[in-house]
């Protein structure tokens, strides 16, 4: 997210903060906190910003809560004119440690002493989930392509530039054999697929194969069933977790939660 341009602190609005934090993810669910409804409120007083967030249960993993809080603070701080950002976690077993640690700019291991190499471990975990987010979107794309009748050899031959995403339409378009195929309701999956691929440092330039595994190895003819079983089990796990977390959040706080992706 690009920092919102503001010539003076008086122009900082709740909206500009929401825009700045729009792509802060729940790492496990690979879904923005804003979409999940986990942002309780954003308050702006002059050049001071306060962001309050809450999670589906009292016991949600503190390490992930910490990542989310630190990301929120970093993004909101990047908005031009913002001087102080305070992030508050509510209704959580580690709310005090997370809130005070993050606002003092501490790392996770400083806020939760006694856990050695935890910070590197956390970054590693973040990558694990980016990888899963990548595979999950690949599953959606592959299945749509198969539904449209693309065969394995055709799919394996696709290059990065053969797919384009139309975000407003939420569709992805794939060109194969001189024909354009429309992957309906896969626009969001298509753009996240590309984003995760870049974030993971996987090949993503024009000319690179469109379908690669999470290590960057291109799909070879004959391997599609394995690709699909792996991607499906990853997607299944994430949608199940997301469904559980949304349901628990709704049970805890009421109101309606965002509908589930897919099926």
């Amino acid at each position: 997210m690009i920092a919102t341009e503001a010539s003076s602190s008086s122009e900082i609005t709740e909206d500009s903060i929401y825009q700045a934090i729009a792509d802060v993810l729940d790492p496990e669910l690979d879904e923005p906190l804003v979409n999940l409804g986990f942002i309780d409120r954003v308050e702006v007083t002059g050049s001071d910003v306060s962001i309050t967030f809450k999670l589906p249960t009292y016991w949600c993993a503190p390490n992930f809560a910490y990542l989310m809080a630190a990301d929120l603070r970093k993004r909101a701080s990047s908005v031009t004119g913002v001087r102080n950002v305070r992030v508050v976690l509510l209704d959580h077993c580690a709310e005090d440690e997370v809130t005070s640690g993050v606002n003092q700019g501490q790392s996770f291991s400083e806020a939760f002493p006694g856990e050695g190499s935890e910070d590197e471990h956390l970054e590693e975990l973040r990558r694990v989930f980016l990888r899963k987010g990548f595979l999950m979107r690949q599953d959606t794309l592959l299945r749509q392509m198969m539904k449209l009748g693309l065969d394995e050899a055709t799919i394996a031959a696709l290059r990065v530039e053969d797919m384009r995403v139309d975000e407003p339409m939420n569709a992805a378009f794939v060109t194969a054999g001189g024909r354009e195929y429309c992957l309906e309701r896969a626009g969001r999956s298509g753009s996240i697929y590309q984003q995760r691929r870049v974030a993971l440092g996987l090949p993503h330039a024009p000319g690179d194969p469109l379908m690669i595994d999470d290590q960057g190895k291109p799909l070879q003819t004959g391997e599609l069933p394995q690709f699909l079983r792996r991607s499906r089990s990853v997607r299944m796990n994430i949608v199940l977790n997301t469904s559980l977390c949304k349901g628990l959040f709704q049970t805890r706080y009421g109101g309606s939660s965002a509908p589930d992706d897919d099926e």
């Binding site: 016991w59 006694g114 935890e118 089990s233 796990n237 977790n241």
Partner: protein, 354 residues
């Protein structure tokens, strides 16, 4: 015993159940409150509305409630009691082997009593394990690798201390190691949901069975992978099965995956009572079919034989239970009589169509 519309009997072992006390009098601090509130959210979120209890009842139910919900109303023949200590949160513990033993004493033919260990307790912990074997002849233990204990934020099953305890289990003939790998159980600051440590321990201790409770959710796909590689790793369906109600399609995907990767012989039914009641879980499971597209993709099916294995026969094998003999012992007990009376009155719901 569940009976299908054709009259086929299905012997049911509920491999995961608890008698807990989370009443305000027993709560030691805010964590005790937070714990049961979280459990209640799971209960309320995934149960059909007519099976949602009041919070007060949920905090503390009686042994009579429990046997009624499991054996009279709920088709269950035998049940395994899995402890959950939480002595830092509850004055007398949340659900210790001592608490569970009340059920075992009152209904010895109906319950299998499991114990627990914590490798961080060293010699004293080993002594406690031996005492549990001596006093109750336990065949299994339930472990929480993500439990906070003093300064420690959890342990791994692959730690050297854990291996000492697992070796002791082999020696004592405690063969069923139920490992909690499931969602939101304890605060943790490393990835205690990671199932890789089960993989290591299972390769090292091939005489032990590792039942991964909640199928490793939220790491279900990693779990499927390790369970495929290790022949002594099993899937406990608690927490996963309730999705059959609000999210039948997700549940079908999970079952198709489990059957494909792990096979029908290594999946165990468990209600996690009192988080969920067995009655509706079993009725819905008996009526459940894997949609055709998933059957085709995974080449798996859900027939009566598979249902029987998951609902009882797999657990019977792990706990050396002869289901005919066990069935004969309970056939005429007071609970069976009540069950027959209940299910033969008008408006009964013994059939697979509820």
């Amino acid at each position: 015993m569940y009976r299908t519309d054709n009259g086929d009997g299905v012997f049911v072992i509920d491999a995961h159940s608890h008698l807990w006390d989370a009443s305000p009098e027993n709560q030691a601090n805010k964590y005790g409150r937070g714990w049961i509130d979280c459990f209640y959210a799971y209960h309320k979120n995934l149960s059909p509305p007519e099976y949602v209890w009041t919070l007060e009842h949920y905090e503390k139910y009686s042994p009579d409630d429990m046997v009624h919900d499991q054996f009279v109303k709920g088709y269950v023949d035998l049940a395994v009691l899995q402890p959950t200590y939480l002595t830092d949160f509850y004055k007398n513990g949340f659900n210790t082997i001592e608490q569970n033993s009340v059920m075992k004493k009152a209904y010895p033919d109906r319950y299998i009593l499991n114990g627990a260990f914590d490798p961080r307790e060293g010699e004293a912990g080993l002594d406690y394990l031996r005492r549990q074997k001596g006093e109750w002849d336990i065949k299994g233990v339930k472990l929480y690798t993500a439990e906070w204990r003093g300064g420690s934020k959890g342990y791994k099953l692959s730690d050297p201390e854990s291996y000492r305890f697992l070796a002791e289990c082999v020696k004592l003939g405690i063969t069923n190691i139920h490992v909690h790998k499931g969602p939101t159980i304890y605060p943790l600051n490393r990835d205690a949901f990671d199932v890789a440590d089960v993989d290591d321990a299972a390769s090292e201790f091939t005489d032990l069975n590792f039942i991964v409770e909640h199928c490793g959710l939220p790491r279900l796909e990693d779990f499927c992978w390790i369970a495929t590689q290790e022949s002594n790793v099993y899937a406990g369906l608690a927490v996963v099965l309730p999705f059959i109600h609000p999210r039948p399609r997700y549940f079908a995907e999970v079952m198709a995956n489990l059957l494909f990767w792990i096979g029908p012989d290594k999946i165990l039914f468990g209600s996690d009572y009192a988080i969920w009641e067995p009655k509706w879980l079993i009725e819905k499971f008996m009526a459940f079919q894997i949609p055709e597209d998933l059957q085709a993709e995974f080449n798996v099916k859900m027939d009566l034989e598979t249902r029987r294995k998951i609902l009882g026969l797999n657990a019977a094998r792990l706990y050396n239970i002869d289901v005919d003999a066990a069935g004969a012992r309970i056939k005429d007990d007071s609970l069976s009589k009540q069950a027959v009376a209940l299910h033969s009155t008008p408006g009964r719901s013994t059939g697979s169509h509820g």
